[in-house]
Symmetry: C2
C-alpha cells in the first residue's frame, strides 16, 4: 500500500477514543478488502408461523416451569422462570479468604417483556402503536422494579436473533434489576460525571446537564447532528448515529439531542411518539441492510433507577438517556464480526469505518423489504 | 428455590471482582440447569489432511498476495498479507474537529507464526519439542518487533477454531506490534502498578515484584496454588487455573508462581521446558473436555516490549508474564457461551462457577483422546 503524506481516515490505520468507556479502538480501513474464508452463520428460518403451539411466549401456552403465559393482547410481562438474579433476602458470603477473592451479595430479579402476541413479528415489522406500547411497558417496569427496596439499577435490553443467543424468534426483551450498578453503566456514569466537572471545554451551544453543567452525550449528539456524516436517521427529538468509537460494524447509538433527558420516565408524549418512530426506522434499515431479520443486542442506558417524580433531582441526573444497538453482522446475513484474539487480548479492531457504516445504513430503504402493504395492517 | 441463611457459592447468585480489569462479574450458579434451546455451532471437520494443497500455510504453497510460503521444517514466520497495522511512516491526522472526535496515529505490523508443517496438528497434538520451538519463536519475534523504533507493545496471540473466527485449521498464531499500548494491557498494567504501591496488604510469603514491591499476580498465583480449588494443573514453575473472576466458562490463566517474571525473554531453560509441558497439558485437557478440537483465543500478557538485556529494569518490570486462554464453549462441542444483551449492556454473567469449571477440567484425561501411541511419533 502506498502511504501518502495526507491522512485519509478511509485508508490509514488509526485509533479512536471512546469517552464513555475510556477505551481505544483500532480502525484498519485498508483491510476491508481481504478475502473471507471463515465461518458462515446458519441462516434464520424465514417461514415463521404467526402462532407456534410449542412457543412459551405465544398467548395461552405453558412455560418450562409449569406456569402459563396468559392470553394477552399487546405486551405481556412475567418473571423469568430461570432468573440469573434472585429476590432478597440473599445470604451474606463469609469474609473473603484473601483480599483478591472477594464476593459481593447480589439480589434483584429478571423479567421478560413479550412485545406482541404475533410469534413472527419483530420490532421492524410492528406498527408504531405497538412500538409505543413497548415503550410504555419499559417505563412501567423501570419504575416498578427501580422503585423496589435495595434495587440500584434496572437494565432493559433485547437480544434479537439466534446469533445473539436468543433461542426464540417470538419478539421479546428482558429487564434485569440488581442491588448494584453493573460494570458498564457504572463506567459510563463515572465518565459522564467527570465530564460534567470539566472546565477546559470549548464554548458550545449544546444543551446542558443538571445545574448548567456540561453533558458529554448532549455535547456529542449536538456535534454529530451538526456534522451529519455519522448520522443514520434523525427526527425532531432523536438522532441515531454510528458512534465515532463504534465497536460493532453497524453499531448504532440512539439518543435525544434537543434537551438533557435522564431517563425514559422523563419523556414527554411527543418524545415517546418520535422515539417509537425512530426505533422503527433504525430496525427497518437494519433488516434491509442484508435482507434478513438483522440480529442485535439493544440496551437502554439511563438513570440507574428512577426518582419518584420527574421534578426531583440527584447526582444520577447526569445520566443522558441513550439506546445502544450492537449488531454482530459484518458483510452479509451470514458473516459476522468475531470478537476474538486481538479484541480479547488487546483492543477492539474494526475494518469498516463508522462513516462508511453510517453511509451504508443511510442509503437503506425506509420500507421493510418484506412489506407489501398488507403485513402491517394484518398485524393490528 | 429455597434461600438458606448460609451462603453457598454453588447455589447463590453473587458478584466477583476482577482486580486486573476492575470489572465485576455476575455468577448465577443456580441457573446452569435451565434448558438449552438456542443456536448450535457447526461441528468442525474431523478428517483434516496432513497437507492441504489449497492451504496458504502449508509448506511450499502460495498466498493470496502472490507470496510463497517456503518449505519450512518446524515453525515459519511471515508478515500478514492483510495487516491491520502498517509500518511507519504514518500520516498524521489533522486536528480533531471536536475534542470528542480525536484520532491517534498508529503504526506497527502484523506477523503470522505457523506452528508446524503438518496441516492437521494443533498444539495439543504436538510433541513437546515442537511446542518448545513455538516458544522460542515467540521469544524471537517479541524481541525483534519489540526492539523496533517506535513500537510500544507486542501482542502474541492465537485464535484456534472457526468459532473464534479462525478460517484455517493449520496451526498458527499471530503477533501484532503497535506504536501504542492497547486498551486491555494498559488497564492491566495500571492495576499492577497500583497494587505495587499499596501499603495496606496483609503480610504474605508470595514472591515480590521489582524492588520488593507487591505484585498482584505473584500474590494471586501463590494464593491459588495454596488453596488448590481453582487449579487445573501445575508443575514446578507454572500453574494453570480458572481465575476467581473468569468471564468464559472454561477460561484459564496460566502463569509462573515461583518468581516474578516480567516476560518470556526472562525465562530460564527449565522454565521454558515446563512452560511447553503445561501448555500441552492445558490444551489436551481442553480437547478432552468435549472430545473435539477445543476452540479458544490465547494471548500472552507481559512487558509491553523487552528491554535489551534481562538485567535491565524499568517501570514495566511490574508486568508479570501470564497467558490467557479464553474458550467460548459452554456445554458441549456445539453450544457456546454468548456475549450478548446483559454482557454487552451491563456486565459479564456466568452460570457455571469457576470452581466447578476447574473441577471438570482437572478430571479430564491427560492423554489426548485421539492419541493411540503413534500419532505423536508420526508428527516428528
Ligand atoms: Zn451507554
Ligand atoms: Zn492479562
Amino acid at each position: 500500500m502506498n502511504l501518502m503524506a495526507h491522512f485519509d481516515p478511509t485508508h490509514h490505520p488509526h485509533r479512536r477514543f471512546n469517552p464513555l468507556t475510556n477505551e481505544h479502538i483500532l480502525v484498519s480501513p485498508q483491510r476491508s478488502k481481504r478475502p473471507w474464508l471463515g465461518q458462515v452463520e446458519p441462516s434464520q428460518p424465514s417461514d415463521i408461523p404467526k402462532f407456534d403451539p410449542t412457543c412459551y411466549l405465544c398467548p395461552g401456552n405453558s412455560r418450562a416451569g409449569g406456569q402459563k403465559t396468559e392470553h394477552y393482547e399487546h405486551t405481556y410481562v412475567f418473571e423469568n422462570d430461570f432468573s440469573a438474579i434472585l429476590p432478597p433476602p440473599v445470604p451474606i458470603a463469609p469474609p473473603a479468604s484473601h483480599p483478591l477473592l472477594t464476593t459481593e451479595p447480589v439480589s434483584g430479579g429478571c423479567n421478560v417483556i413479550i412485545f406482541h402476541p404475533r410469534h413472527d413479528l419483530t420490532i421492524p415489522r410492528l406498527p408504531l402503536d405497538d412500538i409505543s406500547r413497548i415503550i410504555e411497558e419499559w417505563i412501567k417496569i423501570y419504575r416498578r422494579r427501580g422503585g423496589e427496596d435495595g434495587i440500584k439499577h434496572v437494565q432493559i435490553f433485547e437480544n434479537k436473533g439466534s446469533i445473539m443467543g436468543c433461542s426464540n424468534p417470538h419478539p421479546h426483551g428482558q429487564v434485569w434489576s440488581m442491588s448494584a450498578i453493573p460494570t458498564l453503566p457504572s463506567v459510563e456514569i463515572a465518565s459522564l460525571t467527570r465530564y460534567a466537572s470539566r472546565s477546559d471545554l470549548p464554548p458550545s451551544d449544546a444543551p446542558k446537564g443538571p445545574d448548567g453543567h456540561p453533558c458529554l452525550l448532549c455535547e456529542y449528539a449536538f456535534t454529530e447532528v451538526k456534522l451529519g456524516e455519522r448520522v443514520v436517521v434523525k427526527n425532531e427529538h432523536w438522532v441515531a448515529l454510528v458512534p465515532w468509537w463504534a465497536t460493532w460494524p453497524f453499531e448504532i447509538l440512539l439518543l435525544p439531542y434537543h434537551r438533557h433527558i435522564p431517563s425514559i420516565f422523563h419523556l414527554t408524549p411527543e418524545e415517546k411518539l418520535t422515539l417509537a418512530s425512530i426505533i422503527s426506522q433504525v430496525t427497518i434499515k437494519y433488516d434491509n441492510l442484508f435482507l434478513c431479520s438483522f440480529a442485535y443486542s439493544m440496551g437502554i442506558h439511563q438513570r440507574p433507577v428512577p426518582l419518584s417524580s420527574p421534578e426531583e433531582t440527584d447526582d444520577h441526573d447526569i445520566c443522558h438517556l441513550h439506546l445502544h444497538f450492537d449488531p454482530p453482522l459484518l458483510r452479509s446475513a451470514s458473516v459476522k464480526k468475531f470478537i476474538a484474539g486481538i479484541e480479547l487480548m488487546a483492543e477492539i479492531q474494526r475494518d469498516l469505518t463508522p462513516e462508511q457504516a453510517a453511509q451504508r445504513l443511510r442509503t437503506c430503504a425506509e420500507t421493510h423489504y418484506l412489506e407489501n402493504g398488507d403485513v402491517a395492517l394484518e398485524a393490528n
